[in-house]
Symmetry: C2
Subunit: 271 residues, 2 copies
């Protein structure tokens, strides 16, 4: 039972039962953002009742939240047909996040340089527990794919960047991530067995990078190198991605591993 990369069925941190006990935890906020998060699983505009059901709130509360969110621009009505959609206002926060993120800031010039030399697609992803979130993509020359992957996330356990990141964690942390991950495969090449994943992580530890072949996308080979912050903690990863129609995995590795590792080092050196 493979799954798609398109839909957002990943680690959407929803409200935790414990948090209801926390006196510092403002419930209304959680409810509101929970309502907004409902769209993560949606494929089309949602009606008020659908929102209410999906968010677990009653119709009344859902309507009042939607009303407010709409007034603030975080939710819009669908023009054609009925229902609601996320509003354009969310993009303001996107740009704030990207702009203020120090890792992105210091990685950008290095990535531009890497892309020039590599002439393949370069991505920057950010580590977020069970997943790795794309923050920037520099498309390759020939590739006409949509530049806007910002915000897309893929599981840590089965991506080149994720594995490179795990290589900088303790075994216990790696095991924890593997155990908690939804390990449904994307392709029939996706490695999901905990032992095999652990082996890949050990390999990445020795190499200083991770290579994945068709684990997320058929025909794609990807090489990931972790980017580190404070005291060696992995914050994200650089990805170089190419097509198997042009490269064998080994040729890809030989060509791009040095470049990518050097780029990551350059970023790490900046602090």
């Amino acid at each position: 039972m493979n799954r798609s990369i398109i839909s957002g069925e990943d680690g959407a941190r929803l409200l935790d039962e414990d948090q209801v006990e926390d006196p510092l935890f403002v419930q209304a906020i959680a409810r509101a953002l929970h309502v907004l998060s409902v769209f993560h699983k949606a494929e089309q505009p949602l009606s008020l009742t659908e929102i209410a059901e999906a968010s677990g709130t009653g119709r009344s509360a859902a309507q009042r939240v939607v009303h407010t969110l709409r007034a603030l621009g975080y939710i819009e009505r669908d023009e054609t047909g009925r229902g609601f959609l996320p509003g354009i206002r969310v993009l303001d926060h996107t740009v704030d996040y990207l702009r203020l993120n120090k890792l992105i800031e210091r990685a950008t010039p290095v990535l531009l340089d890497l892309r020039k030399n590599a002439r393949e697609r370069i991505d920057l992803s950010l580590f977020d527990d069970l997943r790795v979130v794309y923050a920037a993509r520099m498309q390759s020359k020939r590739e006409t794919f949509f530049a806007t992957l910002v915000g897309h996330s893929v599981p840590t356990f089965c991506t080149s960047g994720g594995r490179a990141i795990m290589a900088h964690l303790t075994d216990a942390q790696v095991d924890d991530i593997i155990a908690r991950s939804d390990r449904r495969p994307f392709t029939d090449k996706t490695i999901t067995a905990p032992d095999e994943v652990r082996a890949m992580v050990r390999e990445a530890r020795q190499n200083g990078y991770a290579l994945t072949v068709e684990e997320v996308l058929v025909g794609e080979v990807a090489l990931g190198v972790a980017v580190l912050g404070q005291g060696g903690r992995p914050l994200g990863a650089i990805h170089v991605a190419g097509s198997l129609s042009e490269w064998t995995p080994d040729a890809f590795r030989a060509r791009f591993a040095p470049l990518a590792v050097e780029a990551a080092n350059a970023i790490n050196r900046l602090r």
Copy 2:
């Protein structure tokens, strides 16, 4: 007194006094999102007290909101140094917005095609009252600029896309937008005088597109064509942007106006 395109000092819809009277308006949500919006004017991590001051809330309330937002991943601590930053969770909503937006969906293939023919930078922007928000960018062959402009916004009154959009509004609406806009210039070529802007809009009405020369960025010539929805209402615009080092404005217009207009028509025809 020119201004920068980088910082987010645009139409951030904050809470309106009237809304306090609205019984359906959930204040806690507005407060929370207002706190998140505080980062729109920030250039660096914000301390709790800075957040409190900027959002108008007391320290206590601000702390409690930040606490919750942090638990949910919408706010993070800055690793190095102190203070808070927007959290990675906001990118989830970004991808939801982009994914569910019908205009982006139907425009994408056409834009890819346009980029192939034009070989210049192609943008898709969405109309949001006083501003126009970039939703997608397909970079040109040679351009190494960062692909991640998603969420950036520029004023409607002085951009090619914005003017093309205004060409599809009534005169009263255009006047309203001009009047309410913060018309500080970006460059010394920025046209800010209401009458001149109106003239440009009239011109755009006749041509079916708008051309701007260095009004936002020095050295840039841009051509915008509106994209329409339900009953001719403008939803956004296609932009083609080039460099004055390669094109005279007239040559640019002659070369790309037909292509861009045709692309916009293609998108409009899809519904």
